[in-house]
Amino acid sequence: MSNPIIESGNVAAAMAVQLARAEVIAAYPITPQTPVTEKLSELIAAGKMDAEYVAVESEHSAMAVCIGAASAGVRAFTATSSNGLLYMSEQLHWAAGARLPIVMCVVNRAIGAPWSVWNDHQDAISQRDTGWIQIFAKDHQEIVDMTLKAFRLAELVHIPVMVNYDGYYLSHTYMPFEPPDAEHVDAFLPAYTYKHALTPERPESLNTVTLPDARLDVDGIKRGGYMDIRHNLHEEMGKSIEVWEEIDQEFQALFGRGGHPVIDPYRCDDADVVIVAMGSMANQFRVVVDRLRQNDGLKVGILALQMYRPFPSAIIAEALQSARHVMVYEKGLSYGNQGALYGDIKSALYPYPARPRLHNFIAGLGGRAIPTESLYQTMKTACEQDLQTPSAQADAPQWIGLQL
């Protein structure tokens, strides 16, 4: 096993991409993602990584290069943030519909207007329906491990994977992590091959215009229409949760880390109140949970959600069955409705007998600081109040730390 090192989250991501032996890197700068592609260009220029580095002219083209490379059977990677992710939105749908196992790091940042370079999750949340698998890391070790596992997952299920981590809180922060050794990574992540790879030996036309209805091919075999292809994407995205868990077990056997690939509960076993959050905020809540238990005797736990799409409804609903209250804290929302994660959790619980009361909190948009003290006070107040708020009223998200 390698020795731990102290580096930024962006460097951690770049090291994982190096270890994964990505072969084509498409790069376009955007804060706070830029250091990922800077580091990769440095690794390639220094001969420490053998890959094609394409300095493209836009994020739209970054994903286009990945689409081209992956369609030809080569492992491709890019990274972006915020408006960059939105600029490639069309390509995200395309990559998923074409079932290309592209991996992309998204360093989560608020979306303009107005401009903000700071962290929230609206970029990734707004792309939740693209058909990409979306996972969220909480610290640098998870950035490294999840990125490697993301390549494995993408290539097993042939669905692109977005590895999300918080801008600045993780991207520019330095902390220790252990880079896996290359030999074990090679064993964990075999070379990518694609049965439909573009090649003159077996010519195929990919992403051809596809009719609403099924149609016979040149050999008389019935092939699905658009809807059948999309249904398959949906079904197989759902099945990816299981594969993600299996990959985590493989990873754990090789590297000794893992065990909570989909949800990561902390002190939830006996909790009356369970907080749900994604990304680094979920780790921050561990401190809050400890204080609430220690100082106030409140039985509180934090459930970190690691996989946002496909949404692990059953796993989450099961995990929340014994909670009386669930507090969903999130850094993005569906404007005019409620927190996107909140809505997902609410719908996940609907078929289950026990439905804890749900409470929605919006925090940290555009980098608004989320002081640990304010999380503690918010939780304390919420727990001390009569938590039997009628659900219609509780549905309206409470905004943490508003200054107007």
Partner: protein, 197 residues
Amino acid sequence: MQSATEQIIQIRWHGRGGQGAITAAKVVAEAAFRSGYGGVVMAPTFGTERRGAPVTTSLKISHSKIYDLSPITTPDIVVVLDHMILHEVDVTAGLKPGGWIILNTPRPVEKHLFPGYRTAVADVTRLGVEAGLRKGIVNTGIIGALGRASGLIDIEALADNIAVEFAGRKPDANAMAARLVYDATLMFDNMGGSTDA
């Protein structure tokens, strides 16, 4: 079960964009980690600051993994790479009572008294030149003052990590700067007399 609320030492670095406060904080983080602090988190200012503007960097040090990445609001120590910053920024903001102010200044320590706090000063700029560095390189030297005042990490561990971080960029002179500053640092406890041994 390990408690996530375990004591965390919080150090806030005040420098100017381009001055190397981030690198200095990273060296201290490395040295702390190698010295047995399992939890270190170093976070630069989250912003769009440009060269020359005052910037801060946060360093948290703990014996166990740190889960709370929120910015430092109540530091135990502030490190100031340039005494002129004192005119622009209230470096004591949130500083815990009795906390340390580590300051690069050519002036005597008596000129930098902060009621209720402890001060450690050294002419890091001059000592850096003495160590063989270009004038204005202060980020390695100031680490010596931090090591001396805080006693958190052994000066040899700090100097070693400086040499590693600055491999190919005058590693010996940079390590020497920290050693010279360590020896020259003067400390004053404005809560009741000099702590200078």
